[in-house]
Amino acid sequence: MISAAKAAAPDIDFAGLSPLIAVFGGALIALMLGLLRSRAIRETVVPALSIVSLVIAIAASVWQWGERSDLIAGALRLDELTLILTILFCVAGIASIVLSWRHVAPREAAHGEYHALLLTSIAGMIVLVSAQNLVSVFLGLELLSIPLYVLCATEMRRASSLESGLKYLVVGSVGSATLLYGLAFLYGATGSTDFGAMAAALEAGDLASDPLLLTGIALTIAGLGFKASVAPFHQWTPDVYEGAPTPITAFMAVATKAAAFGVVLRLFDVALIDVSLDWGPPLAALAAFTIIVGNVGALGQSSLKRLLAYSSVAQAGYMLAGVVVATRLGLQATVFYLAVYLVMNLAAFAVIVARERETPLGDDIASLHGLGATRPLLAWPMTIAMLALAGFPATAGFIGKFYLIDAAVQPESDYTWLAVFIVVGSMISLAYYLKVVAAIWMTPAADSTPDELAAGSPGPEPLLAGGSDEATGMRAQGEVVAVAVLFGALTVVLGIVPTPLFRVVRDAGAALGLF
């Protein structure tokens, strides 16, 4: 069928677009099936088909590996960077769908809409990271953001979820507007919206101190900084992460971050590479500031989702260091860290989802007390995830940090001092990551057992974030534990055998043509 279509419209490379087509197709099917009356179809078939469409998208990405071509008249770029990030989005999407299966959010928001929105958001991310044109950048950004605004508010009977959605909508729109303004300035300075043409214009003309260009760069950094939660544009992150349904938080934390960094890499390391002296120092300062703000902000948190939100801010700072050095090694280190970051965080969020369902404490750190003695299958993934985020050896987080420092201390690099900030940030981060580990293993469980609490309060008030009316004291369903164990194990495996991931990342690094 594909070949027939190809014959009819030779301009469109359907093979190259196949991951995008799979995800959009899945979104349409999920939306349509969600209209059926049968509960079994809505609650089982819709998530299952959504997962299938994401698996197809992953398979298509693997199939397209090694292809490098322009799609849709140069609006999108198909290369290994696009493909590896596509795979990351799809993995995050699958994990999120598995975590939200039997969760309250899709039930309240209607299953069809919930899954269709999630898939649309993933499609937006794919468009965003493959964009090599300012217009498609904005298109992808909005396609990714608007479904997420809605998804944050899908637990409609919980005020904090609605608040989270509204906050994200307002702040995100400001970010989008800033970005759009910045992109307009960039177009004004270079006279083109195409990345290749922009780079050529910058190379040809003496634009390095052009105020139009500088304003454009500043506004673009600010706009993308909102999406990547780079300080000082991170203030929405803790509130939104805390209020959103946890599976959506997990998805936002890993996939949105990867999408934002994907576009940052392509925009700055391709289109604006010739003026890297213009954006390098301010971006480096932002990275250092972000590392400190994120880590210090996380110190006092008792809500695990807020803690991970601040941690994600700090991790964004680490990854920004890889962008700033503007070398192929830096690009590879950033992509490597994005992959590693996804694995570590999904393990942690799966445990939070499990505990939200098992205890009435929501995502409070107290929900982890005594976990080591009672639930080793949840305790170990969470412990590994925390140690990995802190950068302990034998976990993927260590290799990721090692790679970033490696990129920052290269002899030709001007940003060796960023390595010191990464290290100082890691030192501060120990205090809160170890607090979580101590809660798991070294604090006995509270006296009240889940059964008593469930019996005592038939309708527990959703006072705490995520502590919704499904906290019935039941054991977490198997699929949540499976996600936690899978990603926890993967964190260790990638920490000991990172070579396959290095190979993949090296291909992605070669795609952008940096030295």
């Binding site: 080591g372 003695a373 140690l387 950068g391 302990f392 050896p393 034998a394 260590f398 290799i399 940090k401 090692f402 790679y403 420092i405 490696d406 201390v409 290269q410 002899p411 060796t416 390595a419 010191v420 990464i422 290290v423 890691s426 030192m427 120990l430 205090a431 170890l434 607090k435 580990v437 101590a438 293993w441 070294m442 604090t443 990172p498 070579t499 290095f502 090296r506």
Partner: protein, 502 residues
Amino acid sequence: MTLHLSFALWIPLVFGAAGLLLPARLAPKLAIAGTLLVLGYAIAFVADFDSTNGGLQNVTDETWIGELGIHYKLALDGLNLFLILLTAILWAACTLWATFWTSEQASASPRLFYFHLALAQTCVLGALMAQDLALFVVFFDLMLVPFFFLTGIWGGAKRVQATMKLVIYTLVGSLLMLTAAVATGVLAAEGAPKLSFAFADLAERTLGSSTQNWLFLGFAAAFLVKMPAFPFHGWVPDAYRAMPLPVLALFSGVLSKVAAYGFLRVCLPLFPDASSHFQTLMLLIALASILYGSAMAFTTTNARLILAYSSIAQLGFIVLGIFALNTQGAQGAILQAFNHGLVVAPAFFVVALLAARAGGSEDIRDMGGIATRAPVLATLFLIITFATLAMPGSSNFVGEFLILMGVFETKMAIAIVASSGVVLAAVYALRLFIRTMHNRTGPRVEPREMTVRDGLVLVPLVLAILAIALYPQFALQRSEPTVDATVPSAFEDAAASGEASP
């Protein structure tokens, strides 16, 4: 027959992991079996060691992460041979000790306890065997994780705060070391064909002396905190109070030595200019550690802390020997590291026995007067005490003598002050012995002899002390070729480059 270091390295972890999965009653047996196997391997390593060869022996070299130039390279030489033996001996003894301890206190989740204990042994052995800087850093940092859990779960009062303090203190140092290590590899690779962290490659690629200086400080931060040396010892009192005693014996007996070993393995060969540049500073830190540790050891009354501060003083001697930057000093430091480990672990065991006889109190004011009722225990403790205070005839005497001789050759004034440390050691060691064994019987003391079971732990350790006392040459001969090959050459290089650049 070639002995593969990998087996000795991973046996503890494999046994520990097996113990985690099998029924709980098997866990202690498996753990002991694992440590005994490693001990067998370690003895075989020593027996098999070619004492005329100053290079690496029993080398295992595989590429681990090619993209980052990290090798899985393990080898034996004169620097790590006896520390590996020490690790094997102490782990066997302390694991055996822990099996009494867990059954007595019916501790929670013994499987997890033995798993962490075994993981710790693998990490320590890995740090000692590693011949690749990145691999060394991996194991050095990782060995903190099991101790974090061992202290935090099975420790005494205020254990969580203590373990947090311990980990944050030591990891701050370790992270500086991580940056310095990455920078060492990357900067050394400039102009070289390929990024490599193997010590052999790094030693060939000399760095500029200002680069060396900051890299040296990064490593020194990690090692001085871990040892601990005087101004960096803030975590010591809390952590030593909170750790369970078998774990503490290992921590004090082995982990501090790994840090001292780091100076010999990393700093002296890779940063020769910086080592001589910071020689006086390091000697002064060592001197301060000796004086401070000794003074605290004879003023405090908690038996654990007496041993803790005496360790600070003893580690001061070891650093002193290393930064004499000559063969005698380094030889003495290696011997003294081995000696101190052998002495301090049984001392902690005796403290545990004494505390059990003094109603659980570890304060020396509550102890005393049991020597006549427990003559065997008193005799064994006396041997340990004499070894601690470096009685002539003990191996510690030889070690301290060599160290002081080494320092006399380079910095006379420091050596004179440092010799007072030998006298101070006699004061605190004898004070501990007299207050616990003689003196007036404490109010809640129930004097009783140690059991045969206790003897299983204590007697082999004391025999090891006597053996090395009779024939310290055994250790010195084996370490000499390597020390000759690494330490003086590094120092001469520094002297030569110092002359070359007036």
